[in-house]
């Protein structure tokens, strides 16, 4: 690679000291980023480091609370997504945001379709233009095909054709390879090279180090919404990047591990699903915190959903408390002492339009009621007990959950599950998107639960958290269990390499 050290004035687009605040959390704290014509800049960071927030600022969905966006040397406000598109900024998302029920040509030209002189859509021109764009990127797709009928790789190609159609100068690719096969990824690389040759500035977001080293020219690393490093890809290596991503402060901030584990409480053997995961086996002891690490899409949450009875496994058995069960519904799993705190707090965890007390009692309705009649005093007693243990901050127990901060909402969800007195609790990304203070409280509480003999499964994509909290870590990749590491000997490098599938030989 013949790239020079970048000069800031050459940048098509640069973010200077951007700040973005959400209620209770500072998502971005004075981060900067430069994109150069004909170059690929990799944006690297853990989940929650602020990468998606940057994408949303660049595409005009979010407005920064501080700092400035400079395009071609002029400070610019990207007030709306439309404005960002006008300035030639386009994004290809993880799950591509396109219109399933429209044709490929319509997807490419939506918002700027060629018109006839009567002001109607000029279908023949649109289809012809779409065909030539698709030909240019070598996509074997008909412009008249319905998008729904295409695979994910071809949908990406449509998104790229769309980027070309609006004459984009800045192309953002947000984990574009997450759902692609090896061959499709190679084809995407060729396309990226072509975009580079056309002089586009590309922002490439990925967790996979091998692809970063293959196609990126520059890198920028974020950690917890703060800048953690930038430079030329040719000047760095994967362990240096991992160090920037996770920092060195992994030790010390987490509460100490429990000393003794109890007897085995749960054993899972050969859990499989037709598409999402395959042959997952593990065992779990009382007082143990078992971490599940992997990239987004590795099948961790899907596996937990099957354990909790939301989906059915195609094979496999589970033994809890010496009873063999394959839960057929969450109610079933709860009855056997297994509970699941979902990742999507607002969508699956809390019922935010209902009061705290109703939320906490929701999973314990049989124990707080008498022959089906609710005993409010019992509900309040239950809510008081668990909100105290979790140090919830709220004005009153009849306050709606929607009025609480993210961290406190998460405490309500955890309280709901603990109130069922489970034997095993699964926490899926328990501290995602919550502030540092609440994170520490949740971590301390997890330890306390383990010390009381509860078995904890924690799914997390945050490396410091998973290393700091877990007694044992299972790494999943593409639906399979690829590694198991003891919490005492684990390092960030081991996890990142196992999850991304970098073998020792070609790791730099």
């Amino acid at each position: 690679m013949s790239k020079q050290h970048p000069q800031k004035q050459d940048a098509i687009l640069s973010l200077d000291a951007i700040i973005k605040d959400f209620p209770g959390v500072r998502a971005l704290s004075e981060v900067s980023l430069q994109l150069y014509p004909g170059s690929v800049t990799a944006l690297i960071g853990e989940n929650g480091a602020g990468k998606s927030t940057v994408v949303k600022i660049l595409t005009g969905i979010y407005q920064p609370d501080g700092g400035q966006i400079v395009i071609d040397g002029t400070p610019t406000r990207l007030a709306t997504p439309h404005r960002a598109a006008q300035l030639g900024i386009t994004a290809i998302h993880q799950e591509t945001v396109l219109f399933d029920d429209l044709s490929v040509a319509e997807n490419i030209f939506i918002g700027h379709a060629p018109k006839t002189r009567w002001g109607l859509v000029d279908w023949s021109a649109m289809n012809a233009n779409a065909q030539s764009l698709l030909d240019r990127i070598g996509a074997p797709i008909s412009p008249k095909a319905r998008l729904r009928d295409l695979g994910i790789a071809n949908k990406h190609l449509v998104a790229i054709a769309r980027a070309l159609s609006i004459d984009a100068r800045v192309v953002i690719m947000d984990e574009p390879t997450a759902a692609l096969s090896h061959k499709e990824i190679q084809e995407l690389y060729l396309l990226v090279e072509q975009l580079k040759a056309d002089g586009k500035a590309i922002l490439f977001i990925s967790h996979k180090f091998d692809e970063i080293f293959q196609i990126a020219d520059y890198f920028t690393v974020f950690r917890d919404g703060q800048p953690a490093g930038e430079g030329l890809i040719s000047d760095t290596n994967s362990s240096a990047l991992v160090e920037m991503m996770v920092g060195r402060s992994v030790d010390g901030v987490f509460p100490p591990r429990a000393n003794e584990l109890g007897e085995t409480i749960m054993r899972v053997e050969g859990y499989s699903h037709p598409t999402e995961f395959d042959d997952i086996s593990f065992s779990l002891k009382r007082g143990e915190i078992l971490g599940f690490y992997g990239l987004v899409g590795a099948g961790r949450s899907e596996c937990m959903h099957a354990l909790f009875g939301i989906t059915r496994p195609s094979a496999g058995t589970m033994v809890i408390n010496n009873k063999t069960v394959v839960p057929t519904s969450p109610a079933d799993a709860i009855a056997h002492g297994l509970v699941y705190v979902p990742e999507d707090r607002g969508g699956q965890g809390a019922i935010t339009a209902l009061p705290i007390v109703d939320n906490i009692a929701l999973a314990s309705l049989t124990s707080t009621s008498n022959k089906g009649f609710v005993k409010m005093a019992k509900e309040y007693a239950l809510a008081r007990e668990y909100t105290q243990r979790l140090e919830l901050k709220a004005a009153a127990l009849d306050q709606n959950v929607s009025e609480l901060s993210g961290g406190n909402q998460q405490k309500v969800v955890i309280a709901k599950w603990l109130a069922t007195r489970p034997a095993v609790i699964i926490l899926d990304e328990p501290t995602k998107g919550i502030d540092i203070g609440s994170k520490a409280a949740v971590h301390a509480f997890m330890r306390e639960l383990a010390a009381q003999g509860l078995a904890v499964i924690m799914v997390s994509s945050e490396i410091p958290e998973i290393i700091g909290m877990s007694d044992r870590i299972i790494v999943m990749r593409e639906g399979r269990r690829v590694a198991q590491v003891s919490g005492e000997v684990v390092t960030p490098e081991i996890l990142v390499k196992a999850a991304a599938g970098i073998d020792e030989a070609n790791a730099a």
Binding site: S329, Q348, I351, S369, V374, Y380, R384, T387, A396, L397
Partner: protein, 338 residues
Amino acid sequence: MSNEQIKGSSIPDRRNGSIARIIASWEFLLLGVAILIFFLNVQASPYFLDPWNLSDATFNFTEKAMIAFAMAMVIIAGEIDLSVASIIALVSTCMGFAVQLGADTTTLIIVALVVGALCGAFNGFLVAGLGLPSIVVTIGTLSLFRGIAYIILGDKAYSGYPTDFAYFGQGYVWWVITFEMVLFVVLAIMFYVLLHRTSFGRSVYAIGNNPTAALFSGIRVPRVKFILFVLTGVLSAIAAICLTSRLGSTRPSIAVGWELEIVTMVVLGGVSILGGSGKILGVAIAAVVMGMVTFGLGLLNVPGIVMSIFVGLLLIGVIALPILLRRFRARLVTSTGR
């Protein structure tokens, strides 16, 4: 975050200002509307205050309100049942058919309840069992159930109900207090308890607000929805008994268009059409309001078409009002910065 937030160890059970919240509540507003309409009616017609007239006026809402209570729970759970009026038609037709076979009053009631429950179970199976959208399912069964009634009955009418059957729709419990009025109050209390005091009611709110979180919390969502549709079928059957008894005959066009009036009643009562919130008390007051409006306009000899214009405007106003109020309040909150 506001400063009033207190350390976890001392969160009070309830916020202060419960009286202020009662005054700001939808039910309180509705009660005001009810009183206002009552006095307007008193002003408008000298015949309104006559106890027997008032007693007659209750028939305008009692039968619909019985279904409205069950409908409220269905709507709070995020579903809807538009087939209720057609269930009345089918139930009434089946009772009429049973009368031709010489059934007595007890048999008629059993026939009605069984047919109503079966209709509800059919809806429930399609919605909860097969996961079809309730609005489509019940528009389908709206045609289906009444269609069956037409096939059985054609353009004839059944009559000749037993004399003691007349009590349900025409009987008085005490002085001007009708049997239907008493049934209305009893059902209001029963549904109040069911929705607000049982774990079943809690599940209904949870499902309406967030079906996924409800499922994840161990609530058997399909079962709850199935029960709600069966319940609506049974309440439609009870309304059909009262209506058939009051009219003394059955035609297949019985209770045409009631489903929309019932939905109007429920929404006017403060139940969110999007599901998740609402109270039985509000529905009960809304029933009285709608009954009085219809009756008052009737006393003034307002033609039926004008009445339906009025009910339509009332419904739009009622749906718009809370949304506008919320926007106004939100603006107030942001401008004062809390």
